[in-house]
């Protein structure tokens, strides 16, 4: 939709939505949100960007093929299931690591990576669907 107004607004909106999606992802453990919702918001961002600026712009923006992103998300999720094997625990037993960083303590944990994996899968797979649908139209 090649309208000046939309084309001008869309990139900023998309950037804002991407930011928001990461926010939703990261705080999902404590407030409503999480990888899936975050991923969907990111997809919405790409969708708006794509509708405004074209599919190829989105593809260039994502750099990697969306399905590769999805697959690496799944890999990350699978990896986050594994660490407990070295501790004689069941699969998916969560591991927590408090990392002090610039005066704040960051909780690095396997559920966090798992959630990021979910996020990537959703972003990759759903944008792949949307993009491939859009492309047929071109």
């Amino acid at each position: 939709m090649n309208t000046l107004i939309f084309r001008t607004v869309a990139p900023y909106l998309s950037a804002l939505m991407l930011l928001f999606s990461v926010f939703v992802l990261l705080r999902g453990h404590n407030e409503p949100g999480g990888g899936f919702i975050g991923g969907l918001i990111a997809v919405s961002a790409f969708a708006i960007y794509g509708i405004a600026c074209g599919v190829s712009a989105v593809r260039r923006a994502m750099k990697y093929h969306p399905m590769s992103i999805a697959a690496s998300g799944l890999l990350l999720a699978v990896l986050s299931v594994m660490p407990s094997i070295f501790l004689g625990q069941s699969a998916m037993t969560s591991q927590w690591l408090a990392v002090p960083f610039l005066g704040t303590v960051i909780d690095l944990s396997t559920p966090l990576f798992f959630d990021i994996g979910v996020y990537l899968v959703v972003v990759g797979a759903i944008s792949s669907i949307a993009l491939s649908l859009e492309e047929r139209a071109d």
């Binding site: 404590n30 407030e31 409503p32 899936f36 797979a125 759903i126 669907i129 649908l133």
Partner: protein, 125 residues
């Protein structure tokens, strides 16, 4: 409350089934979309309803201050929503491709896999 919602679920199911029984692909796709909602609402209702209180622990506590809504059905429904969304996406594209390839949106006309002219198998030896 749950009884009322059971009726709502029934209505959703009935509506989606009516759509699914249709001849038109688009209506079937709509039926699939509603079916997902129907079953999600069913799970949600089956886990009993609680007004307002989300299952989120306040920042300063280790336990919720009051009885919250049942979190497990919510998690289940979340999973189910995601799955039914994926399926819906697939079905939408499938429907689109079916229309493209088969040139019709009428299921009665989709007879490529099972053509109308049905041969008797060869008899004899």
């Amino acid at each position: 409350m749950e009884t009322l919602f059971s009726m709502l679920v029934g209505i959703l199911f009935a509506g989606s089934i009516y759509l699914l029984l249709s001849r038109k692909l688009v209506r079937i796709l709509l039926g699939i979309a509603i079916l997902g909602n129907a079953v999600n609402l069913l799970i949600f209702t089956a886990g009993r309803l609680t007004r307002d209180v989300p299952p989120i622990i306040p920042v300063n506590n280790y336990l919720p201050l009051e009885a919250t809504a049942n979190p497990l059905p919510q998690a289940l429904v979340l999973t189910a929503i995601v799955i039914s969304f994926s399926f819906l996406a697939f079905f939408l594209v499938l429907g689109y491709r079916a229309y493209q390839e088969l040139g019709t949106d009428d299921l009665l006309e989709m007879r490529v896999a099972e053509p109308k002219e049905h041969y008797e198998p060869p008899l004899g030896y």
